[in-house]
Structures are given as structure tokens and as C-alpha cells.
């Protein structure tokens, strides 16, 4: 059991350091087009082959992981914080505040986001550096992606508000801020971290979809999202299975995170 956990930790540590030091690890710049060898199979020079423009897939995977591994958790954190604040206070305070907050959540769940995002894109200037586009994209995801988590957290917080231990703590004279800090948050923590971890892959995939609307990470910067878009073409992927590397990396990283996190949960309960 703990061996699996160790493997996960080592894997993540290796991944993170490879990704952080991509400038030294990557065999080629992510945007360099080796135009003589587009769509090449893996070789010593190109460990994972090249993409349809001859760019080194391994380097792009490293840089793309950097973008996604740093920004998807940041966006997930942002959206979880918003969800925790809105959902948590709605559920804990109850009353009209809960009704208003839940109405806001429902509204934001039912909004035609596609349309709104397109409007947002229309408002953004065209000359945006790729790095800015990345940050804007994930910030948008973070700001907009809270509503479904918010609902889950709200019902969690409501259960806590109605619980005996909160009543007991109140009867012992605990102050409201201590109640939130010590009674509510520790009990919401499993919900919050579950929301956080599930948001990460969702945001990575959402970013890929936004790319189709011209909202994602701009070329030539790679991200897991736009690398995954390279998998749209199943017959091609079947013929060249090494192209699955981005999705393998995504699954591996997310499940490693989940392994470590679940172990902590088990200890907790």
C-alpha cells in the first residue's frame, strides 16, 4: 500500500522536476519546426517523434506539462476557493443568504457559457502574447468553474450547520470565527479537496475545448489541452500509438495525485 504511494510520490517528483527544468531537459525548443521530419516516429533524436509540423513531441510534452501542471491546479485552487466561500457560507449561514447564493449557482450553471466565453474572447485584444493567453484562459476557468463545486460544498456545509457537534460547540460558547475555522472547515476539507482534485483534469480538458473556440492556449505554446487535441483523429492515433503520450501523462499525473491524496484521507478517517 505505502509502496504504491511511494512510487506515486517519486513519479510526481520526477515529473515536476523534469517539467520545471524543461529548459535543460527538453531536447529542442517547443516551437522549433523540424520541417524535414513532420509526423516522425520516435527516434533517438525525437524521443516521442514529431507532431504534424515537425516539432519535437517530447519537448512539447514537457513544456505543455509545465503550463498545465502549474496552471490547472492554480485554476482549480481559485475555483475551489470561490466555491468554498460561496457554497460554504451559503450552507453554513443558511436562510435567505443560502437561497440567494444557490440561485446564483443555478444561474451560473444554466448560463450559455460558450456564448459568454465567445463574448469574452471578442472583448480581448487580438495581439495577446501566448503566455498571457494561457494565464487568461486558466483564470477564466477558475473564475467560472466554481458553480457545480459550490453546490456540493453548500450541501456539505448545510449538513455541518445542522450537525450536533456544531450545536455542542455553540453550547460550549465557542466564537463564530473559531466555529468556522475549527468545526466547519476541517469537516469540509474532504469535500474541498475532492472538488480540487476533480477540477484539475476537468480544467485541463476544458482548456483543450476552449482551444477549439480560439480561447485556449495560443500557438505555438503547448499545453496538455492542445496536445490532447492532436488525438482527435483516432485512426491516426491507432497507427502511431506514441501519440497517446499526452493522455498517458495526464492520467498518470492525476491518478498519482489522487493516490497520495486518498492515502491521507484514509489516515484521517
Amino acid at each position: 500500500m505505502s509502496r504504491i504511494r511511494l512510487v506515486a510520490i517519486v513519479f510526481l517528483a520526477l515529473t515536476f522536476s523534469a517539467v520545471l527544468f524543461a529548459d535543460f531537459v527538453a531536447p529542442a525548443p517547443y516551437a522549433k519546426q523540424f520541417r524535414e521530419v513532420p509526423n516522425a516516429a520516435p527516434s533517438l533524436k525525437h524521443l516521442l517523434g514529431t507532431d504534424d509540423l515537425g516539432r519535437d513531441s517530447f519537448s512539447r510534452l514537457l513544456y505543455g506539462s509545465r503550463v498545465s501542471l502549474l496552471l490547472a491546479p492554480a485554476a482549480a485552487l481559485l475555483s475551489t476557493l470561490i466555491a468554498a466561500f460561496v457554497g460554504g457560507s451559503a450552507g453554513y449561514l443558511g436562510g435567505w443568504f443560502e437561497r440567494v447564493a444557490l440561485a446564483a449557482t443555478d444561474l451560473s450553471l444554466s448560463l450559455p457559457w460558450l456564448f459568454l466565453l465567445l463574448t469574452v474572447r471578442a472583448l480581448l485584444p487580438l495581439n495577446v502574447a501566448p503566455v498571457t493567453s494561457v494565464v487568461v484562459t486558466f483564470a477564466l476557468l477558475g473564475v467560472l468553474g466554481w458553480s457545480s463545486s459550490g453546490r456540493v460544498i453548500c450541501s456539505g456545509a448545510r449538513a455541518i450547520r445542522e450537525s450536533d457537534f456544531v450545536l455542542q460547540a455553540k453550547a460550549l460558547g465557542c466564537a463564530p470565527h473559531r466555529l468556522i475555522l475549527r468545526q466547519v472547515l476541517p469537516n469540509l476539507q474532504p469535500v474541498l479537496s475532492a472538488q480540487f482534485w476533480t477540477s484539475i483534469p476537468i480544467f485541463i480538458i476544458a482548456e483543450a475545448n476552449l482551444g477549439i473556440l480560439g480561447l485556449g492556449v495560443a500557438e505555438p505554446l503547448p499545453s496538455w489541452g492542445n496536445l490532447l487535441r492532436g488525438l482527435e483523429n483516432w485512426p491516426e492515433v491507432k497507427a502511431s500509438p506514441w501519440k497517446l503520450a499526452p493522455i498517458v501523462a495526464l492520467i498518470a499525473v492525476v491518478s498519482c495525485f489522487q493516490l497520495i491524496f486518498q492515502k491521507r484521507e484514509n489516515l484521517a478517517s
Binding site: 519546426q33 520541417r35 513532420p38 509540423l53 474572447r121 495581439n127
Partner: protein
């Protein structure tokens, strides 16, 4: 080798040949997909691809453009003559032709067709090109086989227009179903399929005198999804695909070599242009770049078109020489060549305009770093690849290019209403041979004059010149004279580069090896333009595809 001879030979040695010839005589049902439900079955109202397909397969025409030779051929008219400066056309009609319901065909039917077509209340898109001047068409039936049409003013490219006028019967009691084409509509399941049956009264015969078409029926499946279409083709459920994307084409070619047909460069172009609209909400110094011929040509020279063809199109494209594709045999200006990639040349042109390189960054006279964005429609993978390749090419001359993909409506809004963009990358689908249909692109007052639409007065001397030449070519029916004018337009466009033409896509299609006599071409309809002489070979049990 005569057909009789073939049969004799086949019965002795080439069994497969015998089988396929026998199949030709027993017909067969050809299947392929159309992308959407036809909006109409009335040939005079056809405006969408599917309706035009139905018209092509069921209509009888006076004159037909041979899609392979790109020349006009007699059909229901055995001969014709244009006179009076392109205002009058007289037809001599074919004898002993009857409609699918048995009603005989005569000059009265042509008269009736033209009268109906030109009725302003019908709003026929087919009629529009005939209306150069207000007024009535004078129709004069000289005899049952001779008719003269006189238009109120000269009509550009008059004879070729009859390629889309399907003749309807004046007298048939079943006027809406009686046709003169190879097939008639037999069955229509809304949203799913259309079955066309062989017209038993079709007038055309093959060289051996056997009545055409060979096929018993054509089955059209309404299928929007291109991937499913390809899947069904691979399964042998359909036999033709008119256009295929380069990637899918290569995959098909890898598995079914003989089914994939690359007919060479098509009329379609991929091009980019800079926004030259005076009122556009972009900085003045950028407008100055975009108005500079040297800047536009330098960008054009920095682009590696050969790489684009090889990489983005997997070799199924050719560097474009200009606005007219070399595939357009008559109208292409053969003196033009695709712009060669020439980085030093590009830098020299830029230097002439006061640009200079400062540590790998190109700066203009006032020190502004040269950076611009190019918009293109999201979801078109090939076009996105082109944009990213341009990004790399332009970095070589110190220009930073930002690629922005937009959904189509926002893109159209930017290029035709708000003009809030700097450069745009799009493709243009060309269907007509004749440049007269391109008036709405090249006249400075035109709405499709994308780099600067609907100008009150031409902004530059060369636009004045293009306006003059386009009007001049429209005012004569002498094609040699028109070609001279139009060659000049092509030269000016190449020199000024208001549109920077990148590539001509190849016409890629798929034809099942069981379809005989197929000869895919670049003009629409690429695979079934010769529908009346196509036939299906019986399935070959040995698995070999004899050719």
C-alpha cells in the same frame, strides 16, 4: 479495341473483364452521400450544393461544360451561335428527344423554360447572371428545332450560363417530374435518402450505340458527418466521395491505393490579407505597414509555400501563383509564378521602407516592433497549421505573428463589419471558370473586396487600374480580349499583393474500384461529372480490382 472485340477476348482469357462489361449492361445502383437535404427539387431555384447535385443528375441542358476538358459541348443543342456583342444566342436543337414521361422535346420547351426562368417573381438565382441590363428577353421560336434568345443587354460569358439551365417541359402533364437528364427522382425520404432512377428515354448513347446511362439508379444518402461518410466508403456502402481532407486522403491511400484520387491543384485557394480599411480601429503606424506594397510583398516572400504544401497538406497542394489557379486552363496567366521564398529579398524590401532588424526584432522607422495578429476560423486544422508555419517563417524576418482562431460568425463580423483585425487567413472556394463572377471581389466598390470593402473611390492607383480592367473585360464578349485584360489584373494583384495567395489545394476524391469509367477532375462535381457513363463492376470474388 471495339466493344465486340473486347467481349470476344474476355470470354476467352480475361474473365474479370467479361464480368465488368456484363455488369455495365445490367447497370447497378451507385451510392454516395450529400451533405444536407436539398432545399428544392426545382432546378430553377437550386442554390445549395445538394439541390445543384439533383439538378446535375436529373436535368437536361442545352450546353454542357465538360468538366475534364473545360470546354463547352453540345447536348440538347447541337450547335449555337452568340452574336450582337453577346446579346443574342441562337440554338439549333437535337431532334427525336423525349422527356422521361414520353412528351417530345422541342423549341417550345426551351422558350417556356427561359420565360419561366426570367420571370422576376421567381427570384431564380440561375437567372441573375443573365440580367446585365433591365428589360425583357425576346424569345423567338423559329422552328421546332431552332430558337433565338435576345437579351436586353450584353451578357458576359453567355453560353456557359446555359450549363445550369435545366430544360423543363412546356406541355407535359407531369411537368415537375418529367426531365431530360440521365435520371429522374424516384423516391425521397426526408432527412435520410433520395433515390434517382434511370431515365429510360434519355437521349444519349455510348459509342457502341447502347443507351445511357449504364446505371439503373443513384442512391443519395443525406449524411453530414464526414467521418461517417469515410467509414461507409471503406465498408463499401458508398462508392464516391467528392472532396476529402488531406489527412483522411493519405490514410485512405495507405489502405486502398486504387480508391484515392488526387486530381491535382484545384481552383480553391488559401490566402491571407492585411486590413487596409482606413477607418479600422488599429494603430495608424500599423495601417501604414499594411498599406505598404513592400511590407506586403516582404511578408509574402518570407513565407515558405513549398513547406506549407508538403507539411500542412501532406503534399496535396501546390504553391499558388495568384488569384487564378493554373487548373483553370484558359484564364490562368501562365507568366505568373508562385512567390519564391527569399528571406534576404524580403529584408531588402523592408529596408527600402525604413524597417530595420534590431536584435532579431524587426522595427519600423519610428522604432515600433513589428508584431501583428492573424485571425482565422477555429476548428480548421489545416488552416491552423498554415498559420503556425507562417508564425515560424515570419520570425525569420523579425516579425512576431500572433495566431488567433475565432468562431466563424465572429470572424465574419470582424472582417466585414467592425474591421477590428489586422490580418486574416481564409480559403476561397472557386466554382466558376470565368472571371466575370469575380467582379464582386475585385471592384473597389464591391463588398467582397476584403482588404478594403466598399470603397467610395479607389484608395490606390492600382485599384483604379483594376476597376478599369474589370469593367473593360465585362464590356466585351471577345474572350481573347477579355483574357488580356484579366491577365493584367492577375499581374497587378501579384505585384501589389492585396491578397497574399499561399496554395492551391489539390482536388482529392475517393472512388471505389468497383466504379468503372470514373475520371475524377478538379471541377465540381468531381467524381460523377460523367455520371451517364459510370457503371458498377460486379463484386470481384478474388478480391482483385481489375483496371
Amino acid at each position: 479495341m471495339s466493344r465486340r472485340m473486347q467481349i470476344v477476348l474476355a470470354s476467352f482469357c480475361f474473365c474479370w473483364l467479361f464480368v465488368s462489361t456484363a455488369a455495365a449492361q445490367s447497370g447497378g445502383e451507385l451510392r454516395f452521400s450529400i451533405q444536407s437535404e436539398p432545399k428544392t427539387f426545382d432546378p430553377m431555384l437550386a442554390d445549395d450544393d445538394s439541390s445543384e447535385t439533383i439538378r446535375y443528375l436529373t436535368g437536361g441542358f442545352l450546353i454542357r461544360l465538360n468538366r475534364q476538358t473545360q470546354t463547352l459541348e453540345p447536348e440538347l443543342a447541337t450547335s449555337w451561335k452568340v452574336s450582337n456583342g453577346g446579346q443574342t444566342i441562337s440554338f439549333e436543337l437535337r431532334r427525336n428527344v423525349v422527356f422521361s414521361d414520353g412528351t417530345p422535346f422541342s423549341a417550345d420547351d426551351v422558350a417556356y423554360t427561359m420565360r419561366t426562368l426570367m420571370d422576376p417573381n421567381l427570384h431564380s438565382p440561375t437567372a441573375d447572371p443573365f440580367r446585365s441590363v433591365e428589360g425583357q428577353v425576346k424569345i423567338d421560336v423559329k422552328s421546332p428545332t431552332a430558337i433565338v434568345l435576345q437579351f436586353p443587354g450584353p451578357v458576359a460569358n453567355l453560353e456557359e450560363l446555359f450549363d445550369s439551365v435545366a430544360i423543363v417541359s412546356a406541355k407535359s402533364p407531369h411537368r415537375d417530374v418529367a426531365g431530360l437528364g440521365p435520371f429522374v427522382v424516384a423516391e425521397h425520404k426526408a432527412g435520410s435518402s433520395i433515390v434517382l432512377r434511370r431515365n429510360p428515354n434519355y437521349w444519349k448513347r455510348d459509342a457502341a450505340g447502347k443507351p445511357l446511362p449504364y446505371l439503373d439508379a443513384v442512391h443519395l444518402d443525406i449524411q453530414q458527418n464526414r467521418d461517417l461518410e469515410m467509414l461507409r466508403f471503406r465498408r463499401g456502402e458508398i462508392q464516391l466521395i467528392n472532396t476529402i481532407a488531406p489527412d483522411a486522403f493519405d490514410r485512405l491511400a495507405a489502405d486502398m491505393r486504387s480508391a484515392a484520387h488526387d486530381a491535382g491543384p484545384s481552383f480553391d485557394t488559401e490566402q491571407m490579407w492585411f486590413n487596409q480599411v482606413a477607418s479600422a480601429p488599429i494603430p495608424d503606424y500599423k495601417k501604414a505597414w499594411f498599406r505598404s506594397q513592400n511590407f506586403r510583398r516582404a511578408v509574402s516572400q518570407a513565407i515558405n509555400r513549398a513547406d506549407m504544401c508538403r507539411i500542412a497538406f501532406a503534399g496535396h497542394a501546390q504553391p499558388a501563383a495568384g488569384m487564378i489557379s493554373p487548373a483553370n486552363h484558359f484564364w490562368f496567366n501562365a507568366k505568373l509564378r508562385p512567390e519564391e521564398t527569399d528571406v534576404p529579398g524580403a529584408l531588402k524590401r523592408l529596408a527600402d521602407d525604413g524597417f530595420h532588424l534590431d536584435k532579431d526584432v524587426l522595427r519600423d522607422r519610428d522604432g515600433h516592433a513589428v508584431e501583428f495578429s492573424i485571425i482565422t476560423n477555429a476548428g480548421n486544422k489545416v488552416r491552423e497549421r498554415l498559420a503556425v508555419m507562417m508564425q515560424d517563417d515570419l520570425a525569420r524576418i523579425g516579425i512576431r505573428l500572433n495566431v488567433v482562431t475565432l468562431d466563424f460568425p465572429s470572424l465574419i463580423d470582424r472582417i466585414s463589419h467592425s474591421f477590428n483585425y489586422e490580418a486574416c487567413l481564409l480559403g476561397l472556394v472557386n466554382v466558376d471558370l470565368d472571371p466575370s463572377t469575380q467582379m464582386n471581389v475585385w471592384l473597389s466598390s464591391a463588398s467582397n473586396h476584403q482588404w478594403n470593402p466598399e470603397e467610395k473611390t479607389p484608395a490606390t492607383p492600382w485599384e483604379v487600374e483594376i476597376d478599369r480592367l474589370m469593367h473593360a473585360q465585362a464590356s466585351t464578349t471577345d474572350n481573347k480580349q477579355r483574357k488580356e485584360y484579366f491577365d493584367r489584373v492577375q499581374e497587378i494583384v501579384a505585384d501589389q499583393a492585396p491578397f497574399i495567395y499561399l496554395v492551391n489545394k489539390n482536388a482529392l476524391s475517393a472512388v471505389s474500384p468497383t466504379v468503372r469509367n470514373a475520371a475524377p477532375v478538379v471541377l465540381r462535381p468531381q467524381t460523377y461529372w460523367n455520371i451517364d457513363s459510370l457503371y458498377l463492376a460486379a463484386p470481384d470474388p478474388s478480391g482483385r480490382h481489375g483496371e
